[in-house]
């Protein structure tokens, strides 16, 4: 599953980022690394963006981007 499928209050461990481009690098830089703990904090009523707690900070991503990031609960 991907972090886009997480429900509010779910937490898990990051797997890999399934895309090779610009955003991947960006995500690395802000702490989206394999093995990192992540939890889903808030979902926008429209379903996107979603705010995650990761590496000591709250980061929000659009659903389409979140769907590229694998996670195990």
């Amino acid at each position: 599953m991907t972090i886009a499928d997480m429900k509010e209050k779910d937490s898990g461990v990051l797997l890999s980022i399934n895309e090779c481009c610009h955003i991947k690098r960006r995500l690395y830089d802000i702490g989206f690394v394999k093995g990192q703990k992540i939890s889903c904090l808030y979902k926008n009523p429209f379903g996107s963006p979603i705010a995650y707690y990761i590496d000591g900070a709250i980061i929000s991503l659009r659903k389409s981007d979140a769907a590229k990031i694998g996670v195990i609960l």
Partner: protein, 662 residues
């Protein structure tokens, strides 16, 4: 004289670089609690131990691989400029992520120190960092600081001094990569100026732009090497990043101690502001309250100022008469220049003094990124970036600021979108007109006024979205780019400092601009109103000429002329209109809104005219300053032209419809 030493502050967004900068220089650059506050280089000077220092505050970056225009500013400074020392400002509560940047900086230069800022917040979260060990591991000076209260700043200056004067040699820790990459790095050493540059060539061996043909050698070598080992560049990038990340993790785990209970992740305020059921209401309520405070708060001072200025004018007129100055000159100075000038001050100053500081305080507190989070789905559906909601909000203050602020948007397409649509948000110069018309024609009650104003602003938001959508389908075709936004922890704003600073920088700045524009505009208008062709003044003839066009969009010639003449600054639209209506050759003074309404009604205003004027004042062409800023930011005739057409067409279409329906 000794040469000036150059120092620059580097760090992730939102770690308090601007606060450090202000503490060091004693200047008050505005600090905001959101990613991308410093959109351009701020610079200042200080003096320490017989040395002159020049210090730069670079925009926040997560890494030296830039993904937006403002990040590129920081990257190019660090890689290409000459400096004596960098200060890596780190967020102590988030050491691991911040270290990634430190390791990248270490690949570029040996001359830097590390500042562990926000020590107080770390303490509150029971995070303890062993500064000495960290300094030993990293091989550079590490200083703990709470910049907000000035703690640690002296030690910082001392450390910078030691680096600058070279009294101690530092050899910062470098990340060790896998053997293939290390081998490649030593091979490219002589052809590149830093390990960082070599790494970049290794990751993109094919991308050599014309200006760095010097790297040609390096890139050929890199290509050969990569072919020999048959690695993909993607693998190389991933390997480099993961080496850095692992190193950060390793270093963090050896110096950081987190004790006590788990940090509170969900904040009470966030539960309301970002919660599923409450966020929408919270947003509207918040905006409504801000508008209401602005309306109520500015009502009374505006009237007081107005009557004060009126008596000042009378006084000045009498003085000049007594001195024996001719009546023409008195009329020119007193009724031409001074009256327009004072009007602008009286009408603009109170709402600005309230709105700008409130906005700044919200910014400091950390509300803005939350607004972006809540509004993003709307912008996403229209092909725009969520950060456009921030530039839209900034536009409510001043469109020129909103246009510059668009630099925080990563993708070029979305940045242009934000720039072109920015003038659709009514700025502070237009608020007084909106507020006055609402008060005259629609509501006597300040609460109702705020509600009506809020609906007008929601209309402007809707138009921003609609035109973004249309542009995305037409001249700015493209897909949504990714949108990564950090929601920073709430921070208590430094209230006095922020308010004073906003008053000084923003309010005074905007006011001065308006005054500078209003004075010459006053002269031009006075001349137009006093030069007669036949029996009528030029201004009257012009307005009669424009009348048929104005009528189509529910205005009249006078209002249309006022908007056109108001191009230098939106604030002078009402004064021009009044002057023309009264065709007295000078701007009328009036003491209350009822007088004003009587003037308008006797000139054929109906509630339709009032609505159309309000709508047209929200949607017409950008003012001169904004237009100039758009040109500077885009350097494109096409986008500048579009920035005029989008709001203008919106206004013309909406007003024509309103005029037809009513």
């Amino acid at each position: 004289m000794k040469k000036e030493r150059i120092v620059a502050l580097v760090g992730n967004p939102n770690v308090g670089k601007s606060t450090v900068f202000n503490e060091i220089t004693g200047e008050s650059q505005h600090t905001g609690n959101w990613t991308g506050k410093t959109v351009a280089l701020a610079e200042g000077k200080y003096y320490y131990k017989y040395n002159d220092y020049h210090i730069y505050d670079l925009p926040g970056i997560y890494s030296l691989v830039p993904s937006s225009a403002e990040e590129e500013i920081a990257r190019s400074f660090i890689e290409d400029e000459e400096y004596d020392c960098l200060v890596c400002v780190l967020d102590s509560t988030n050491l691991e992520r911040n270290l990634n940047l430190v390791f990248q900086v270490a690949e570029v230069t040996n001359k830097f120190v590390v500042l562990l800022n926000l020590e107080d917040e770390a303490k509150k979260k029971n995070i303890c960092i062993n500064r000495e060990t960290l300094s030993k591991i990293l091989g550079v000076p590490v200083i703990e600081a709470t910049a907000r209260s000035g703690k640690g700043i002296n030690q910082l200056l001392e450390s910078v001094h030691s680096v600058v004067t070279g009294s101690v040699e530092y050899t910062p820790l470098k990340v060790t990569y896998i053997s293939f990459i290390e081998q490649a790095l030593s091979l490219l050493k002589n052809d590149t100026k830093s390990r960082f540059e070599a790494l970049r060539v290794l990751q993109n061996p094919d991308e050599i732009s014309e200006e760095n043909y010097k790297l040609l050698n390096a890139s050929i070598k890199a290509q050969n090497l990569i072919e020999k080992y048959n690695f993909t560049t993607e693998f190389i990038t991933e390997s480099i990043t993961s080496s850095v990340v692992q190193k950060s993790h390793f270093v963090t785990s050896s110096v950081e101690l987190k004790t006590g209970c788990k940090k509170e992740k969900k904040n009470f305020l966030d539960k309301i502001l970002l919660g599923k059921y409450t966020s929408g209401i919270a947003m509207i309520l918040m905006f409504g309250i801000v508008l209401w405070i602005t309306i109520v708060g500015s009502n009374y001072p505006s009237n007081v100022l107005m009557s004060l200025f009126n008596s000042f004018e009378d006084f000045l007129e009498k003085v000049m008469q007594n001195v024996g100055i001719s009546t023409e000159i008195i009329s020119f100075v007193d009724h031409g220049i001074l009256r327009v000038l004072l009007w602008v001050v009286a009408v603009m100053l109170p709402p600005m003094t309230i709105f700008f500081p409130i906005f700044a305080l919200m910014e400091d507190f950390g509300i803005l990124p939350r607004i972006a989070f809540n509004l993003d789905p709307l912008f996403e559906r229209c092909g725009a970036c969520g950060k456009q909601s921030l530039t839209t909000c900034m536009g409510y203050g001043c469109n020129a600021v909103g246009v510059t602020g668009a630099r925080i948007i990563d993708s070029d397409r979305e940045r242009i979108l934000a720039i072109v649509t920015n003038s659709l948000s009514p700025c502070n110069g237009r608020f007084p007109l909106l507020i006055a018309i609402i008060a005259m024609f629609f509501s006597k009650n300040s609460f109702l006024s705020a509600v009506i104003l809020l609906s007008f602003i929601l209309l402007s938001m809707a138009m921003t979205l609609l035109s973004s959508k249309i542009l995305t389908k037409t001249s700015l075709k493209g897909k949504n780019s990714s949108f990564v936004l950090e929601l920073p922890p709430y921070r208590k704003p430094q209230i006095v400092r922020t308010v004073l600073h906003t008053l000084k920088e923003k309010v005074l700045f905007v006011l001065m601009r308006a005054v500078v524009v209003a004075a010459p505009a006053g002269i031009v208008i006075w001349i137009l109103a006093n030069v007669k062709i036949g029996d009528n003044s030029v201004i009257f003839i012009l307005s009669r000429f424009l009348d048929p066009v104005g009528k189509i969009i529910g205005l009249d010639g006078v209002m249309l002329l006022a908007f056109i003449l108001g191009f230098p600054a939106n604030e002078i639209v009402i004064p021009i209109a009044l002057m023309t209506y009264l065709s007295k050759g000078e701007m009328s003074d009036y003491s209350s809104l009822i007088d004003l309404k009587n003037v308008l009604v006797s000139n054929g205003w109906t509630s339709t005219t009032a609505i159309c004027t309000t709508v047209f004042s929200m949607f017409h062409f950008p003012c001169s300053t904004t237009l100039l800023t758009i040109w500077k930011e885009t350097k494109s005739v096409k986008w500048t032209f579009l920035s005029v057409m989008v709001p203008l067409l919106t206004g013309v279409i909406l007003c024509s419809i309103i005029n037809l329906v009513f």
